[in-house]
Amino acid sequence: MELVRGRKISGGTAEGLALVSHDPISFFGGVNPDSGVVTEKGHELEGTTVKDRVLIFPRGKGSTVGSYTLYRMKKNGVAPRAIINVECEPIVAVGAIISDIPALDRLEKNPLTIFQTGKKLKVDADRSLVEVSD
């Protein structure tokens, strides 16, 4: 078991399978709030659902309305279980907080390279930790 430290953006704990995107994500207009499927044309995750995953991506982009989209996804049961950003920005930070989705950023190692899609992760945002199962 490996522990990686980060910075807490939104509290809580969650466990799930990693889904890694090297592209930034725009939740408003880029993700379907009813299905959780990424719809942005040409996006690395186009056609993939983020539902119940530990979603790992560089940062959010686009309209601040994206915070509300995350909230809607949570209400619809299609939100990611946790979020790990390289560097969080206000859209994702606000969205995670109002939706009670644990979120971390600024990990001691680059999350885009140390975590692979499908790997089981436990995010303990209250202790600013990510736990990688063996």
Binding site: I9, V65, Y68, Y71
Partner: protein
């Protein structure tokens, strides 16, 4: 970030769910941007009001906050909604959209927010003073507040502005710190700027050249509110800056070493870039940002004795329209067949698919006309726009 005892208690939930959630938002943002403390704000402008942009997601969040007892603690006004709140039928808005939009406004009103529904709060009584710390969203109003009024605000998003209203606080970083407000590029304007579209074109040209850097303009003197609000909207849209200085407002001696010059060719180039090939227009919209009373008077004078043949919207705050009624301008405009679109505008109303070619005097309206609604755009003076509304031709 250092929090006072009172702020710690707000964060711990002692003042209820709404205050706690919104304190969490502000402390997270403060940490992200390296703020060392919270500061009180005296005024808030909340964007994210149109149901067209909010959708059910935003509506649900706002209703949850309102139902959990969220109340604003400072003067708070609203950005435009997706429709005229009284006259939506005449503007072609469908019933279901109208009902959802009314729910959005009700949630805001329940929180104690004034449903001003305008992007020009400074024209309808939310006018902060020089040095005031405020938390505004709506990029054109942010730039106006910082640059023309001398108040201090970051470019807030809808949710962070609402959080500031509910807590009365904002994290201290960016534009709230004097040292971050110094000009970074000296912009010499080597041409005479005439009507409103020239100021929009200036914002486009400078925004494209310097991005979010803070300009110090040399060559803007005695500009009117109408010209300044157009410049603010355009430079914020195309560049992203929250602040500019002019030689009239800038008191310091320090001039930034980086210098650019804007010539007539730059202005003409920007106007060409904002004009699509289209000889006929089917939609004319003025008031981005919302029209002042003077602009409405000009439109009324130009429409005297004429009839419009194209859908023609004059976007303005309801309060300004009422003043125009008292002056008799509004009646003359309606007699010519033009419509007031109060509480809303051509950028946030659900217009996609209804029109093909938009004529306007606003560089910002061109951006949203193209990006959100797939319109072709024509930009020109108010005279050209009124003429297009009458004849349908762009000459």
């Amino acid at each position: 970030m250092h929090l006072t005892n009172v702020e710690e208690k707000m964060l711990a939930g002692e003042e209820g769910y709404a205050v706690q959630k919104n304190m969490q938002i502000l402390t997270a943002l403060g940490d992200i941007f390296g703020a060392d403390k919270m500061i009180p704000v005296s005024s808030v402008q909340v964007a994210g009001v149109s149901y067209y942009n909010l959708g059910d997601a935003g509506l649900e969040y706002l209703e949850t906050l309102a139902n959990k007892g969220a109340k604003v603690r400072v003067k708070t006004t609203l950005n435009p909604a997706g429709m005229d709140m009284e006259n939506w039928r005449e503007l072609g808005i469908d019933e279901e959209f109208a009902r959802k939009q009314e729910q959005v406004i009700r949630a805001f009103v329940q929180m104690g927010i004034t449903p001003s529904c305008t992007c020009t709060p400074y024209l309808v009584g939310n006018e902060p003073s020089r040095g005031d710390h405020i938390a505004w969203s709506e990029s054109s109003a942010v730039t106006y507040a910082n640059s023309v009024l001398g108040a201090m605000t970051n470019r807030e998003g809808g949710p962070s502005a609402l959080a500031a209203a509910i807590t009365g606080l904002t994290p201290s970083y960016g534009m709230h710190i004097e040292a971050n407000r110094k000009p970074q590029v000296h912009v010499k304007i080597d041409t005479r700027l005439a009507a409103v579209p020239d100021y929009g074109a200036l914002g486009y040209a400078v925004g494209k050249k310097i991005g979010p850097k803070i300009p110090l303009f040399e060559g803007i003197t005695h500009a009117q509110v109408e010209q300044l609000k157009s410049l603010c909207a355009s430079i914020a849209t195309y560049g992203g800056t929250a602040l500019f200085h002019t030689q009239e407002t800038y008191q310091e001696k320090e001039i930034p070493p980086e210098t650019i010059t804007i010539t007539r060719a730059d202005i003409e180039g920007a106007l060409r870039a904002l004009n699509d090939e289209a000889a006929r227009v089917d939609f004319v919209a003025l008031g981005c940002p919302h029209c002042t009373l003077d602009e409405i008077k000009t439109i009324a004078d130009l429409l005297e004795g004429k009839k419009v043949t194209r859908e023609f919207w004059i976007c303005t705050a309801r309060q300004t329209m009422k003043e125009a009624e008292e002056m008799g301008y509004a009646q003359r405009i309606r007699a010519a067949g033009a419509k007031f679109a109060c509480d809303t505008c051509m950028a946030v109303a659900p217009l996609k698919g209804r029109f093909n070619v938009l004529a306007t005097d606003s560089a910002k309206a061109c951006y949203y006309g193209r990006g959100t609604n797939d319109f072709k755009t024509r930009i020109g003076s108010v005279e050209e726009c009124v003429s297009a509304a009458v004849t349908g031709n762009w000459s």
